[in-house]
């Protein structure tokens, strides 16, 4: 089953390798691993989508939480009230005959045409991963020359904030022995 973990980690060298290593060790197939700056200075927000049995995922999440530098780790798989977005760039082969058809499909999926050549069109689309899958499916007959996806990022709707989930650490920044 598909699982989604969202984490805030300290922006330090080797941190991403550390996190990636955990999943490899447990034999998880990582579908996507996305990292970028969060709203908090010095903290990177990571989104990991993995495929694997639920029982072992709990263990991976615990191991993840244990990493020095992991400030917040949340399993948001069950969170129904959230948005998932991903970006896609795809280069489709076109001829004079098929170009218009691809342009209208792009319209239908609210994709933008970002580059045009005599034999190709490059399209950019943003949306839920499922929508992008469907978009790629309808483009496939035209010939997909190249595609790149960013991997999905997730965020809860409403006032809920990742860093303010229970057991937050932000109020205990300094540790003394």
């Amino acid at each position: 089953m598909r699982h989604v973990l969202v984490a805030l980690v300290q922006d330090e060298p080797g941190m991403l390798a550390r996190m990636g290593n955990l999943f490899a060790r447990r034999g998880y197939n990582v579908q996507s691993f996305t990292a970028g700056a969060s709203e908090l200075p010095g903290l990177t927000r990571i989104t990991i989508v993995v495929d694997g049995p639920s029982t072992a995922l709990d263990q991976v999440a615990k191991q993840f939480r244990k990493q020095i530098g992991a400030v917040k780790v949340a399993d948001v798989t069950a969170d129904k009230d959230q948005l998932a977005y991903e970006m896609l760039l795809v280069k489709v082969g076109v001829s004079a005959k098929t170009r218009q058809e691809v342009v209208s499909l792009a319209d239908l999926f609210k994709a933008r045409i970002v580059d045009v050549s005599s034999t190709t069109l490059m399209l950019e689309a943003t949306g839920e991963p499922d929508k992008l899958d469907k978009f790629l499916e309808v483009l496939r007959p035209f010939g997909i020359k190249e595609q790149a996806r960013t991997g999905a990022i997730f965020m809860s709707r409403g006032a809920k904030i990742l860093n303010q989930r229970p057991a937050s650490t932000s109020d205990r920044k300094y540790l003394t022995e």
């Binding site: 300290q10 263990q59 244990k66 020095i68 992991a70 400030v71 917040k72 650490t169 540790l175 003394t176």
Partner: protein
């Protein structure tokens, strides 16, 4: 005052109260070792292989509860530490490993003796650092010690480029550390204590499982008081031996693959297991499907990732074993389990731990002689293999925290270098090393370090000319095809002699007591080469994949009955 980076490292160690460092110099580490001349308060011990430096730091840490420190140069110096670091990781031993790195400007160019040691040690350290700026050095050292000893302890590696060690470096040792997200839970919530107390009060057949975490938390007294309060037997893991005196009526000894029968039967028939700082290792549980089928599990560990990892916990309690035990003992009345204890005594009588071995020198008798010589009060370091299991079974540890061995990783070659550390931690009394001839030959170069420091380490070699534990498995599961297990070696008495270490050969049981007396009497180191029976197996044994109730006892014991 201006410092070099090398000096800053030693300044940090002084502030952490470090008095001994195990190491081996080298090109990139030159500025680190050069600065050492200004720090006479730190005793630097040159070992003969970096692996030994890590094991020695590990032994020192286990014996004293302080952070062990080892230092090596870049490249091969650093990679030689790896097995020692992994050993410390698996057994949660606080350690700081300092490695020199090639100059920052050439990192990533495959420079001479360059290796990415932070990459290599990523999965076997609690955390590691490559210092890229001089100004980060002192803070990094501070964090390394803090992380190594707090929470669930473990090894932390700090890799420092040569130019940082050489160059000027500001020194400010921070008092506080900012490590957001790192907050080991020490005390369990009061409602958890209440739930646990209820479970314990309701149990008819409770068993306490004492693991290495009891040593780590220094919770020996708390364990004894707790066990006495609830009148429950205490079974230990391999590393949990010597958490409670073997003379204590509630102490059952070790359970698991080579555990004693009554301890395994107690665990298997329990209705409540109170696991303390132990991780349900496969060598302890046997087949999970058959493990303690009627038991609820109350699992106490400071590392939440250990709870529910292999055996689901009925009540997870994240916290420091000592704090949890104090609170639990407080919350519980005196309980009485005399029928349960009588049942366990009956099992002990039915399945006693006897030596059925024939021949001139059964290996179990060597351990029993060691027990007599030390009256169960010795500091014992064992290596890995059959002899390790015989020590675990036949040596009755009366003294707390007196047994040191590589449990999780099962590192052959551990004992002699680890004994260096245990000995420096306990300078006034001898340390006993029990080691097979295979394990001994993995790190016998450290005889030179023993002689150099003239430490009163007594080495007892269980010399059977086999890699005995592997041979036992070949006999039982691989058609007795002894491939790659017969092992030759030097004349150990002569070998010791060439290092100036007195030694003696023992070939029969009746020579044992005199030989141990001689070893004990010697002021310095001593080596006993015990030519034990070659084909002995460790019994009882739970065969892999079977239940801990299905232990196999020594067949020779049966024929005599």
């Amino acid at each position: 005052m201006r410092y070099t980076g090398g000096e800053v490292v030693w300044e940090c160690l002084v502030r952490e109260g470090v008095d001994v460092v195990w190491g081996y110099p080298g090109g990139a580490a030159l500025p680190l070792f050069d600065a050492l001349s200004k720090y006479p308060q730190i005793h630097y011990v040159l070992v003969r292989h970096e692996q030994a430096a890590a094991h020695a730091a590990d032994g020192y840490a286990r014996a004293t509860g302080k952070v062990g420190v080892c230092a090596a140069t870049s490249g091969p110096g650093a990679t030689n530490l790896v097995t020692g670091i992994a050993t410390a990781m698996l057994d949660s031993v606080p350690m700081v490993a300092i490695t020199a790195q090639v100059a920052d400007s050439v990192i990533g160019t495959d420079a001479f003796q360059e290796i990415n040691i932070t990459g290599i040690t990523l999965p076997i350290t609690k955390h590691n650092y490559l210092v890229r700026q001089s100004r980060d050095l002192a803070r990094t050292m501070r964090e390394a010690f803090f992380l190594a000893r707090t929470g669930r302890p473990g090894p932390v590696l700090v890799d420092i480029p040569k130019d940082i060690l050489t160059g000027p470096c500001e020194f400010h040792y921070p008092e506080r550390i900012s490590r957001p997200g790192y907050r080991p839970v020490v005390r369990s919530a009061p409602y958890q204590i209440q739930r646990a107390a209820q479970l314990i009060t309701d149990a008819k057949h409770p068993v306490v499982l004492a693991g290495h975490g009891v040593h780590v938390a220094k919770a020996w007294e708390e364990l004894r008081r707790f066990a006495e309060r609830i009148s429950a037997p205490v079974v230990s893991t391999l590393l949990g031996l010597s958490t409670l005196s073997a003379d204590h009526p509630l102490c059952l000894g070790m359970a698991g693959m080579h555990g004693v029968a009554w301890a395994n039967l107690a665990v298997q028939n329990a209705d409540l297991l109170i696991a303390l700082g132990m991780r349900m290792d496969d060598r302890f549980t046997g087949s999970l499907k058959h493990f303690a089928p009627q038991a609820k599990l109350l699992h106490v560990d400071i590392d939440p990732a250990e709870i529910g990892k292999r055996v689901p916990a009925c009540l997870p309690m994240v916290g420091d074993v000592r704090c949890v035990l104090e609170a639990l003992t407080e919350a519980l009345p005196d309980l009485d389990h005399r029928d349960w204890l009588a049942q366990i005594e009956a099992w002990r009588t039915q399945h006693p731990l006897e030596v059925h071995a024939q021949g001139l020198l059964p290996p179990q008798e060597v351990v029993r002689a060691l027990h007599r010589a030390t009256e169960g009060e010795g500091l014992v370091v064992s290596d890995v293999g059959q002899h390790q299991m015989w020590v675990a079974q036949h040596y009755r540890f009366r003294r707390l925290n007196s047994f040191f061995t590589s449990g999780g990783l099962g590192t052959m070659g551990y004992s002699l270098p680890a004994a260096l550390g245990v000995q420096v931690g306990h300078p006034t009394e001898p340390v006993w090393v029990v080691v097979g001839d295979g394990s001994f030959q993995m790190n016998l170069q450290e005889l030179a370090t023993v002689a150099q420091e003239w430490l009163p380490i007594k080495i007892v070699i269980m010399d059977n000319g086999y890699l005995g534990m592997v041979r036992q498995w070949q006999e039982l599961f691989h058609g007795a095809r002894y491939i790659g297990t017969p092992i030759s070696g030097p004349d150990y008495v002569q070998l010791a002699g060439s290092y100036g270490i007195p030694a003696r050969r023992v070939s029969a049981t009746d020579e044992l007591d005199a030989a141990f007396a001689a070893a004990k009497q010697a002021k310095g180191p001593f080596l006993l080469d015990c030519k034990v029976e070659r084909d002995e197996n460790v019994y009882p044994m739970v065969q892999p994949g079977t239940s801990n109730t299905d232990f196999v006892e020594d067949p020779r014991g049966r024929t005599q009955e």
